[in-house]
């Protein structure tokens, strides 16, 4: 099936870079696709998948702020949750805004060789990591935090065990938490985490195990 047949667009339009990107997007929904938000934060229905999403992405890439707002509404629960977990609840709102500002700035370079959600997700991870790298103590944070074992020794007192788990996650040492979120929540491989965080796969594995051992107490 040709791109024109697939989209119902005129050949000239279908051949445009924006449309080629959109068509490519449609065929690239794959690994680590974002969990769709049930309802956008505005109360409006979230932007769907397929052609509708492609249309909004193309319009936003062309400078349509309203289209970009709809993309924001659709993806902000996902991005905000990712940022909150990775950053341990610190500066979550500010970082989330940074992510979407970066997305807006980078949309022109989005070539559609990955699904938009995957691209956005990766960009969000990079924004958080960049922020961490600005922290001069980051290297140390990857290796300290044993005292957290004591504070995580017993389950928190709350009726919502899922929130207990989220709260416990936020209280993990920074390095262990980042790696746990990337591996167990987001599905990254140790090799990818090593590249992102500039650490060895062995360090990533050790920190992941450490985080799991801490968190297991909060499932009882």
């Amino acid at each position: 099936m040709t791109a024109t047949h697939a989209t119902g667009l005129l050949p000239e339009i279908a051949a445009s870079p924006v449309c080629r990107r959109a068509i490519s997007l449609r065929s690239e929904r794959q690994e680590r696709a974002p969990k769709p938000a049930a309802v956008a934060s505005s109360g409006r229905a979230p932007v769907g998948t397929g052609a509708e999403l492609d249309d909004y992405v193309a319009r936003a890439a062309a400078g349509d702020v309203r289209a970009f707002e709809r993309l924001y509404e659709t993806h902000v629960p996902r991005v905000h949750s990712l940022v909150r977990r990775m950053a341990g609840g610190r500066d979550t709102d500010e970082l989330t805004q940074d992510v979407f500002v970066r997305v807006w700035q980078k949309l022109g370079s989005f070539r559609g060789d990955a699904a938009f959600g995957t691209w956005l997700h990766r960009l969000a991870v990079n924004v958080v990591i960049e922020r961490f790298r600005q922290d001069a103590t980051r290297r140390q944070r990857l290796h300290d935090g044993d005292e957290i074992f004591d504070t995580l020794a017993s389950p928190l007192r709350s009726g919502d065990i899922r929130m207990d788990f989220e709260s416990a996650l936020e209280r993990l040492p920074d390095g262990a938490r980042e790696i746990f979120v990337l591996h167990d929540v987001e599905g990254y491989k140790h090799r990818e985490i090593g590249t992102l965080l500039q650490i060895s796969s062995g360090t990533s594995k050790a920190q992941l195990h450490r985080a799991r051992m801490m968190l297991r107490r909060h499932l009882k």
Binding site: L10, E12, S16, S41, V65, R78, K205, L219
Partner: protein, 230 residues
């Protein structure tokens, strides 16, 4: 480190089936078969992994969009003047007349093109377009990515300078843009049914050119060029 520590340190690798040789995995299997403590730890780790994968996303409690909207600035292709304070406005009758003319022209062309042999009744489109716009038309092809980029850039530049324009001027410009967009959409839909129609193709290209010309003029006004005549 006792034997249990040594084993539990490898339980995540065991759980993820990552990094263990077959011999190491077999040794762990043998140990787990006899050690209830390590089996319990493995079950707990498995539960953690399951819980992590089941976490649900939550929207932020605070409203964040306005802060984002205030920070996103489309890349303008035209430099904004630093000391421009003059406001410009068209006369209302001129702008209303131009807007109505665009709507009538666009709708009429599409209707005629779809309802009969356009060659029999229509004057040359190019002549009409030239009379409606004093700027020479530069043919723009459908899928000209540069066109999309130019429109986006001009729209962004106009958005940045719109506070220099009279509100009534803004209203009429926006109404005219909507009319042109409708004409473009009509042409696009008509062309789906009749892609080879020369007049529709010309009309489509001309409508896009009109939009570009209007955006250029509006942007020039917003930037303080003041050369309304184009």
């Amino acid at each position: 480190m006792n034997h249990t520590d040594h084993v539990t340190d490898r339980l995540s690798d065991y759980l993820d089936d990552d990094g263990l040789t077959p011999e190491q995995r077999a040794a762990l299997d043998a140990h787990l078969a006899t050690c209830g403590e390590c089996r319990g730890a493995l079950d707990e780790l498995r539960a953690v992994v399951t819980r992590a994968a089941a976490l649900t996303d939550r929207a932020p409690a605070a409203e964040l969009w306005s802060g984002i909207a205030a920070r996103i600035e489309p890349p303008a292709v035209l430099k904004m003047p630093q000391r421009q304070t003059r406001r410009f406005s068209f006369t209302l009758p001129q702008l209303v007349a131009a807007s109505l003319a665009l709507m009538v022209l666009s709708g009429g062309l599409v209707w005629v093109a779809r309802s009969g042999d356009p060659r029999a009744s229509l004057p040359p489109v190019v002549a009409l377009e030239e009379s409606a716009d004093s700027e020479p038309m530069v043919p723009v092809t459908f899928a000209d990515a540069q066109y999309d980029d130019a429109v986006a850039d001009l729209e962004q530049a106009l958005a940045k300078g719109r506070d220099r324009l009279d509100p009534e001027t803004i209203r009429v410009i926006e109404a005219s843009l909507r009319s042109i967009d409708e004409a473009i959409d009509q042409s696009r839909k008509a062309l789906k049914a009749d892609p080879a129609n020369v007049y529709l193709n010309n009309h489509f290209a001309a409508s896009r050119n009109r939009k570009l010309a209007l955006l250029r003029r509006a942007t020039a006004l917003a930037l303080g060029d003041g050369n309304i005549g184009g």
